[in-house]
């Protein structure tokens, strides 16, 4: 258990900081996902001319892996 104490317990501030970042990302992404999802849903249902755009976006984001999306957004969007 000495190892555990040295490597985990003594680093707890770093690990907890990491956990906070995870929770922050989770919260913000969750909020964005709900709002974005609702908008896409409403556009798909009620805005006739934009319907194909909404469907294309939905299918594209559903069919690309998160990891690919992560790198893509990070490198390509800017």
């Amino acid at each position: 258990m000495g190892n555990w104490e040295r490597m985990v317990w003594n680093q707890r501030h770093l690990l907890l900081d990491g956990l906070v970042v995870t929770l922050e990302i989770c919260l913000i992404a969750f909020a964005a996902a709900i709002v974005g999802g609702l908008v896409l849903c409403l556009v798909r249902l009620y805005v006739r001319p934009l319907r194909p755009v909404a469907i294309a976006l939905i299918e594209f984001f559903r069919a690309t892996p998160i990891f690919v999306q992560l790198l893509w957004v990070n490198y390509v969007w800017p």
Binding site: T64, V68, Y75, V76
Partner: protein, 233 residues
């Protein structure tokens, strides 16, 4: 802006490296196939434990499902690659190291076995108890009831959900590049470092995955639906 867009959609670089990228994509499929097979077998096993008559076995099944469904894929991949060999090595008293491919298959197989177990269990529990009782009344052994009465119906009923799981699993194979399995994403990163042109490469990768997953899932969904309607009233 339009220049960047043209650069992002420029397929020339992607095409230039098509040989190595295709090889990478093949690795995605290998990992997917091996992990899917492992996940189906382990998942069926865990589901059968969860509907077992004996309570400790039910607990064991639940434990398996909860552990592997609640661990993020990435954490499992890293853990299986770096920690599991050490633990096993300690247990057998030898230094042990997994090749990245094996770690990827074990980790994804275990994670998705948790999901498949729940899919199987839902299917098994959707079969009316009367059918099982009827089988018993005819003197069928439990094993035959399982293979001839329960599982054929379960497989058909779980098709739509299973397709979703397979899609998730295929998408999850991209993270194995993080432990240096040379899959498509890994090759894309390598080529990007050489060429310093991330735009077309990452865009190409995203579009490739999109095309594969979209086509495959539409196709499988249509086939599965036809099969269900033909066989199952």
């Amino acid at each position: 802006m339009s220049g960047a867009l043209a650069e992002a959609l420029n397929p020339a670089v992607f095409w230039e490296y098509r040989a190595i990228l295709l090889k990478g994509l093949a690795f995605n499929f290998y990992v997917f196939a091996a992990a899917a097979a492992a996940a189906l077998i382990l998942g069926l096993g865990a589901a059968l434990l969860r509907v077992n008559r004996w309570r400790p076995l039910r607990w064991a099944g639940t434990l398996h499902v909860e552990i592997f469904r609640n661990a993020p894929d990435y954490v499992m991949v890293v853990w299986v690659h770096f920690v599991l060999p050490l633990l096993l090595g300690l247990a057998i008293g030898r230094r042990l190291e997994f090749p990245p491919f094996l770690s990827a298959v074990i980790a994804l197989g275990l994670v998705y076995s948790g999901y498949f177990a729940e899919t199987f269990r839902a299917g098994i529990q959707s079969i009316p108890l009367g059918q099982i009782e009827a089988g018993r009344a005819c003197g069928m052994p439990e094993r035959l009831i399982l293979w001839r009465i329960i599982l054929p119906q379960v497989v058909r009923r779980m098709m739509p959900e299973a397709v979703n799981q397979f899609v998730s699993l295929f998408k999850a194979t991209t993270i194995v590049s993080l432990i240096a399995v040379p899959d498509l994403m890994y090759q894309v990163s390598m080529v990007t470092q050489q060429e310093m042109r991330p735009l077309p490469l990452y865009t190409g990768a995203a579009l490739t995955y999109f095309a594969i997953i979209f086509l495959a899932s539409s196709l499988v969904r249509a086939l599965a639906e036809r099969w269900r309607q033909k066989v199952y009233a």
